[in-house]
Point group: C2
Chain length 369, copies 2
């Protein structure tokens, strides 16, 4: 990453174009900007990269499209905060797939407070909803902002209970496509003291796969995540797993072994999550962490500018592709086994990624799609 203090309007537009272009995710964005020294240069390189990766064409977000989104957003009070800018949520910067641009609406003051996520079942029990309400109220009163996903059930209860103290709704779609639609009023009510945030285009209709993707932001914004009710294999458990991977504290509320809505939470406790029966259980774990402050600089140092001296040769590209498969493998291994340079491997991976042929995982792993 290069930009550090704040983007110019022109740069912000380039960032938006780049992240809105086909097959460019948060990690690819970072690689592209590091590789080419900036979003503008990356945009110029995109068509060639995608073509060499095997794509017939790669849809690049035009200047006009990006400008229209910006304008639409501004008209609705939605602002784009870029990774590295002072307003960007500090803890979120630390995850390795932090969104380059975050579209936010509402009162940013809530970001100055430590955030705790409260999530759980959509079809929650009355007891689960009551407990989420109580917990959010007590944590709010103790100075914490409450993060959740604006879903029915536990999420909505957590948001409602923390409207006066400040709550953050993380959207799976765009700001003008609140999901579920019945929560449009709730999303509005959040704004005076809290925030709605999204990494998706303004009018993006969320698809099933956007929810797990969104869940990484819920945990990424937060110091800890409390799961109130969760069935086995539910979305809330994905948030818990992501929280663990991001080094966030994981809390779970117990329930009867005969209640299917407690299977997930009881399982988390067995795996080491902190059991929560009252707000004090959360605060006892979180407070010492806040005392330690945040870890090292949130953004990696800009890599030395070393655009590859030449494009990869077909034989090199062939060797690298031959090494890839559906199981994730490390980029280091690819460099070693392909007997090429790191720069060549990175370039080929970018090509393949932009052509939609590979997927990036955490920890520098990639696999064929």
């Amino acid at each position: 990453m290069v930009e550090r203090t704040g983007l110019t309007d022109e740069q912000r537009l380039d960032w938006l174009r780049l992240i809105r272009s086909e097959n460019v995710g948060a990690r690819t964005f970072r690689d592209l900007v590091n590789h080419f020294g900036g979003a503008r240069a990356a945009l110029e390189a995109l068509p060639g990269l995608a073509r060499r990766g095997g794509a017939a064409s790669a849809r690049i977000c035009s200047r006009e499209e990006a400008a229209a989104e910006m304008q639409g957003a501004r008209a609705r009070g939605v602002h784009y905060v870029a990774l590295g800018e002072p307003d960007y949520p500090r803890r979120l910067q630390m995850i390795d797939d932090a969104p380059p641009l975050l579209a936010i609406a509402g009162n940013r003051d809530v970001l100055t407070r430590p955030l705790i996520a409260i999530v759980g079942s959509r079809n929650a029990s009355a007891a689960g909803i009551k407990f989420a309400d109580r917990l959010a109220r007590e944590l709010g009163a103790a100075g914490y902002g409450i993060v959740s996903g604006l879903a029915r059930g536990i999420d909505a209860a957590a948001h409602r209970a923390s409207l006066p103290t400040g709550t953050v709704a993380v959207l799976a779609g765009g700001h003008t496509r609140i999901y579920p639609a019945e929560h449009v009023d709730l999303a509005e009510a959040i704004l005076p003291n809290g925030l709605a945030v999204s990494e998706m285009p303004l009018s993006w209709e969320p698809r099933a796969r956007d929810f797990p993707r969104r869940n990484r932001l819920i945990s990424g914004l937060s110091v800890g995540v409390v799961i109130v009710e969760a069935a086995r294999r539910s979305g809330s458990l994905i948030t818990a797993r992501m929280a663990g991977e991001q080094g966030r504290e994981v809390f779970a509320v117990p329930g009867s072994p005969l209640d299917p809505r407690a299977e997930g939470t009881n399982g988390l406790i067995k795996q080491g999550a902190t059991m929560v029966t009252e707000a004090a259980d959360v605060i006892a774990v979180i407070e010492p962490i806040l005392g330690r402050g945040l870890d090292p600089p949130p953004m990696e140092e800009p890599e030395p500018m070393n655009p590859p001296e030449r494009d990869p040769g077909d034989d090199e590209r062939g060797r690298i592709i031959g090494l890839l498969g559906p199981s994730p493998c490390s980029i280091d291994d690819l460099v070693r086994l392909s007997r090429t340079s790191p720069a060549i491997v990175r370039t080929v991976l970018l090509e393949l990624e932009l052509a939609g042929h590979i997927e990036r995982h955490g920890g520098g792993l990639v696999s064929l799609v």
Copy 2:
């Protein structure tokens, strides 16, 4: 302790007389037998000890009373097993206040199997009862005997579910005073495959304080104790505490934070009890323990026979009494601070105990009553 292989009928009668005498508990029994070399000699010394301890008189169980209890027991199929005899439950022998004589009725085969206690609220929820039933059934099928306290609610559910595989009811009163009376049939139904055990006189009507006392036998018999539902400050938590003190595994079943019957169990889990949502959670912890076998010889080596050369002098007795107070203090400290011998201190403590003036705690601590 001296007897090791089995008592003669005459010795068994002496043991029964001694443990049924006033102010003689399990620990005092052990001290008296060690001190005087046997129950008969202890019985002879009792009146003098109690008088010197300040008692106007000490009720000593007569030969006739003891013989009558024995005869009444035999007529009802109740047998007395003495600490150190082969039939005495092995794990129970290891607790420091194991009853010298255990009155047992039923099928002793269940004692050859590892035992797990399942206890909980008397006013249990339907879910709690269902879970206790399921757990007892599954653990029974896995080869474990189920121990409980014959109370209403969780206890009764655990017993009923393990009638076919073998269950042990630990009574707070005597064998002919089943409490609650509505469980007389249940107590009968236990005997073909299981046991009822009691340390109390045959027709003892249990008082409130007999229940916590009884709870130490529930945990003492068992490799581990599962608490299914327990309110804050309930009797089941006493069993859990005793289990911990005795080095037994403590398990607890979680519940909603809004359910008062889960307050105790959730609290136990926070304190380190193993969370149980299925039988496998118990078995996973217990199996490795069984593999290790039992720890060192269950009974302490008989102490060298060193009856005090002389009775304590009044000044020595006065110094020792002066050092005692309502807070427990160690016998070692008494020896040191009174500048007398261990034998003198032990004798004075026996005197005071038999006169009902002191209480013994675990870990060699005593206090004034």
